[in-house]
């Protein structure tokens, strides 16, 4: 704990800003029930009410409180994005490390399969699959995780390739160590910094991807509050000069910026860049 505080004190202003944003989002997501003045799907008044003391950010197209939906949206959107990114890393990271360590046909098989997946535009591919299997949250998570894992695979494989040729890996092989030990103890610790940095960036992309799908109507389904669909549902308000529908978009943008700041800082620390 003390070390973490010390680390934070040496961080640049941008990183502190990023950490603050992320921590705030996480807290909001966890304590949504206590923070939100109204329920997630509760209809509290007339449609499209303006900002007032009772409804701080007004109401939406069905008369639900905007602020409450925004708060619950943090839980849904961020939670699902986090879960998806984890899954993508588990999948892409593991196959990438395996391919780099085993080489030969395993590498060929994985790499060519990934090439095929990457050849198809991600958004169109996701739209296609989701239309076929239906838009449940597990399907959404799985499809995005598989699509995003291609990028993770590429990175994990490239990083691991540079480590596999090191003498210490040869030492471990010659000692008779098993595959799991070599990957877990020799390669993974050395491949971790770029992968962690990538995790931050990937999280942003997943987040944007989900929001994009929701905006198109194939993402998180109503009545669940979600920032992407909130923009779509209330888009008509913009024509009347009301900025409310832009607030969920701003929330997405803010988180993306915050995460990027933290990732930048982390990359600087691990790569030893000075300027």
């Amino acid at each position: 704990m003390e070390a973490a505080l010390k680390l934070l004190r040496s961080a640049p202003a941008t990183a502190i800003f990023g950490v603050t944003v992320i921590v705030t989002y996480v807290l909001v997501a966890i304590f949504a029930h206590w923070l939100a003045p109204y329920g997630e799907t509760q209809i509290v008044g007339a449609e499209y009410l303006p900002w007032s003391d009772q409804y701080l950010l007004g109401t939406d197209n069905l008369g639900r409180d905007m602020l409450s939906r925004l708060i619950f949206g943090a839980r849904n959107t961020v939670g699902i994005a986090f879960l998806t990114t984890c899954l993508a890393f588990l999948l892409g990271g593991l196959t990438g490390l395996l391919a780099a360590t085993l080489r030969g046909w395993v590498d060929q098989l994985f790499s060519r399969a990934i090439d095929v997946l990457m050849a198809i535009p991600a958004l169109i591919f996701a739209l296609l699959i989701l239309t076929v299997v239906g838009t449940s949250i597990p399907a959404l998570v799985c499809v995005i995780a598989v699509l995003e894992s291609t990028r993770v695979y590429r990175l994990a494989r490239a990083v691991a390739m540079n480590i596999v040729v090191m003498d210490f890996v040869e030492v471990a092989r010659l000692r008779g160590e098993g595959l799991a030990w070599i990957i877990r103890r020799e390669i993974l610790p050395n491949a971790l910094p770029p992968l962690v940095a990538e995790f931050g960036l990937r999280f942003c992309f997943v987040f944007l991807f989900i929001s994009a799908l929701s905006f198109l109507g194939l993402g998180i389904q109503p009545p669940t509050a979600d920032w992407g669909s909130m923009v779509r549902e209330n888009a008509t308000l913009i024509t009347f000069g009301d900025i409310t529908p832009l607030l969920p978009a701003a929330a997405i943008a803010l988180l993306t910026v915050g995460v990027n700041f933290v990732v930048d800082w982390f990359l600087h620390k691990t790569s030893g860049l000075k300027t």
């Binding site: 210490f168 000692r175 008779g176 103890r185 020799e186 610790p189 050395n190 000075k274």
Partner: protein, 580 residues
């Protein structure tokens, strides 16, 4: 020769006047007119580690006269290269010149602007880097890279400097001087590339060339060619040079004067002959004494089964055959040194023995029983008996594992040790390799010096309780003093534990120090093998002879005598043969 000098001298005068400010020029001339080319006073350079700056060069004075060759020697980290670069008014990334002055022909390079410095570099001061392969741009032909500098500085046109390049290639005795320039860097050998680099540095006929370990990465047989070429050309054009190296025998051949550096400070300075015959300081004496370590040759045991036998091994990478019918034996408590230049198949032999490269023909016997050709088919017991120590201790250890885990893993893996027993054994091993257990057990490899890292690698090999250790160039990346410590340690361990060593090296001094038996390899074949005493007494195989005679000696006349002897035709044909 002399007319060249005059012509260039005239050219220099013109370029020297235009830029240098009146004040600075005055300083340069007041003391020793036209004599001193480079004058460094109280030079201080700082390097950044983390957020703080620490001094790496702590006030060095240096004078270099026109046409003089100055040798800078010292261990790594002594600040040799940093001073060499500072002589051009340059500091590497993460370094800065924090004090003192570097006056080149009256102009203080520390204070001079970027433009003035840039005008000097390449045209009047040139630099030859350690690794020519890394210093050349692989995407351009040699001659295009040669002409770049003269054209850039407006000294000569393209066609003119191409003719000049060919002339210099000829003087540096490169094969096919008319054509070699039109090759790409990867198409010529390392020694040739280093000479092409020297030619490039000579392109503008500079007053000063800085050679930063130009032969360190080369084999002994090629090193001679490069040394002779560099020395000739420097003499022909009467160029001043700073020659940076850690190899004393090399500097003895090249320099008129030697400066010994340590921890960024000058230890001693004297003309070469005085320095070699009568060093004053203890540190210099210890450097001089390094090559004196010599282990007694142990007699070959009769009738004993060798611990390890390589029998008629032929191996290939893909379709290229790299080993042809290699055979030798290693006995208990004996050291077999495998010698040869790079590409001779020394390391490949080690890969065959460890099972990384299954041979096409032949087999490896351990105590009379054949080992499975692939390491993955060998049992734990078989893997444990052959351990390896690598050249680069840096990459041979996982940077994320502390010493305790590096040494502890084989203990657990092979011997099933756990808990206190393992902890005690790790400490025992650390004491065995002469490192204080409580200081080192929790360190990461990044917190160790080069010599300490290599010791930890030795401890890791010992942890498996092997009977054979393959040492692949274990000392070649280390400073001589440190390397000697490692050799002594290995020798002591052999005496105590009865280990057999296969010692791969290209350094014959190391062979003399530690071997009982020598195997000489050339192009994947064993050309000669036998006990050390026989190998170092004539008659030799032609290649062994060449190899032996190419090892620089600490005698400033050695190179002259050797070249004279070879010119007389004694070994002339063999050099040609080896160069091809």
């Amino acid at each position: 020769m002399s007319d060249e000098t005059v012509k260039n001298g005239a050219g220099r005068d013109g370029s020297g006047h235009d830029g240098s400010g009146a004040v600075e020029a005055g300083v340069g001339r007041s003391n020793k007119p036209a004599e001193i080319l480079l004058r460094i006073r109280g030079l201080k350079i700082e390097g950044r580690s983390g957020e703080t700056w620490s001094e790496i060069v702590k006030g060095v004075d240096l004078d270099l006269h026109k046409g003089e060759v100055l040798g800078l020697i010292g261990e790594s980290g002594a600040g040799k290269s940093t001073i060499g670069l500072a002589a051009m008014g340059f500091a590497r990334d993460g370094c800065r010149i924090s004090g003192g002055s570097v006056e080149f022909d009256g102009l203080d390079l520390v204070k001079a602007g970027v433009r003035k410095r840039r005008r000097l570099r390449g045209s009047r001061i040139a630099y030859v880097a350690q690794s020519a392969a890394a210093a050349f741009n692989p995407a351009h032909k040699l001659i295009d890279q040669y002409t770049e500098t003269p054209v850039q500085h407006g000294i000569a046109g393209r066609a003119e400097s191409e003719r000049d390049a060919i002339e210099l290639y000829r003087r540096l005795r490169l094969p096919n001087p008319e054509e070699i320039g039109f090759r790409y860097p990867h198409q010529v050998s390392g020694g040739q590339l280093q000479r092409a680099m020297t030619a490039m540095a000579m392109a503008c006929r500079p007053d000063l060339i800085i050679f930063d370990e130009p032969t360190t990465a080369l084999d002994v047989t090629t090193q001679i060619e490069v040394l002779a070429a560099i020395r000739d050309i420097v003499q022909q054009f009467d160029t001043a040079a700073i020659y940076i190296t850690h190899d004393l025998a090399v500097v003895a051949q090249m320099a008129d004067r030697i400066m010994v550096l340590r921890y960024g400070k000058l230890v001693e300075e004297a003309p070469t002959r005085t320095m070699l015959s009568a060093p004053k300081k203890d540190y210099t004496k210890s450097l001089w004494a390094v090559r004196s370590f010599h282990a007694e040759e142990r007699p070959r045991p009769a009738g004993e089964t060798p611990v390890l036998a390589v029998e008629h091994v032929t191996a290939a990478y893909g379709k290229t055959r790299v080993l042809h019918d290699v055979s030798f034996e290693i006995h208990r408590q004996r050291t077999v040194a495998v010698v040869g230049e790079s590409g001779s198949g020394k390391s490949t032999t080690a890969r065959v023995i460890t099972g990384l490269l299954p041979p096409l023909e032949g087999r490896i016997l351990y105590k009379g029983k054949p080992l499975p050709p692939k390491f993955s088919d060998r049992s734990k017991e078989q893997l444990k008996t052959i351990q390896m120590i690598y050249q680069m201790a840096d990459t041979a250890m996982n940077p994320k594992q502390p010493v305790r885990e590096i040494i502890g893993r084989p203990l657990k893996f092979y011997l099933g040790m756990n808990g206190r027993q393992r902890e005690e054994r790790i400490r025992e091993l650390l004491s065995l390799i002469e490192l204080e257990p409580k200081d080192f057990i929790d360190r990461l490899p990044g917190e160790l010096s080069g010599g300490q890292k290599q010791r930890i690698c030795i401890a890791r090999a010992l942890a498996a309780e092997p009977s054979v250790i393959i040492c692949d160039e274990v000392t070649s990346a280390l400073d001589q003093l440190v390397a000697e410590g490692i050799l002594k340690l290995l020798d002591r361990l052999q005496g105590e534990l009865g280990l057999a060593y296969m010692f791969i090296t290209h350094d014959l001094a190391t062979v003399k120090a530690i071997a009982d038996e020598v195997v000489v390899m050339l192009q994947g074949k064993v050309v000669e093998s036998g006990p050390k005493s026989e190998m170092f007494t004539p008659p030799h195989h032609a290649y062994t002879e060449l190899l032996l005679s190419s090892v620089p000696e600490m005698d400033p006349d050695w190179l002259d005598e050797l070249l004279a002897a070879r010119a007389r035709g004694e070994a002339g044909g063999k050099i040609e043969a080896a160069d091809n």
